[in-house]
Amino acid sequence: MNQGDEAACRSRIAYRLVALVLPPHRKDWADAMLNESNYIKSRRAALQWVLGCTCAALRVRVTYELERTFMTRRILKVPLYLAAVLAIGAIGIYIDAKPYQRERMWRTVHQVVNSDNAPRIDRGKNAFAPESPNNRVQRAGSP
């Protein structure tokens, strides 16, 4: 296989890959991108060009899919907006809460997240401190 045949083969493989990856409305760009590689004299530069085009096709596809998923699907828009409103509300309540209320909130969150490892004993301010031998001694010695 001479250099020209090799370049043509490489170009065909890359074209198929890029045309497959690009979104439907961008298919004509596959020709525009890869035909250029036939005019690049350096073999290495041509290969870099083809690799770059493949990366470009992947980036365009990812952007297209993300836009289609998050911006045009109304089914996903409603839960996203709802979650955003709830998060803002929760932050507002937390900011407005008194310190002891905040501590209770954190304890509740901690219990929900780690329901198996939640601290069963109320240890006051050190409720979330790791169980150390000193703590254990103190509790054992306390009346």
């Binding site: 020709d31 250029e36 036939n38 980036r59």
Partner: protein, 86 residues
């Protein structure tokens, strides 16, 4: 591209002039084309057996947009470092 407005340029030529890799250049060209600031056409190859190439140039609104962006960038440079602006 603004310096050679009116001239059609190949993708590889653009890549070398702008010092951008093909992976960066083509998504930009696609977006510019969508916005109508870039036009393109196919050029048949003068060499036997070689595929056609696509040529690009700025449209009239594209030239106006590029000039505006360049003047804004120049204003920022003058603001940040007055000595560098020429």
């Amino acid at each position: 591209m603004l310096a050679r407005r009116g001239h059609w340029l190949h993708g590889y030529e653009l890549s070398e002039q702008a010092d951008l890799k093909s992976g960066t250049l083509y998504p930009i060209l696609m977006r510019l084309s969508d916005r109508g600031v870039l036009e393109s056409k196919w050029e048949p190859s003068p060499h036997e057996g070689r595929p056609p190439r696509r040529l690009y140039r700025l449209t009239a609104p594209g030239v106006a947009y590029a000039k505006e962006q360049m003047s804004q960038a120049g204003a920022v440079v003058r603001l940040v470092s007055p000595g560098r602006a020429s």
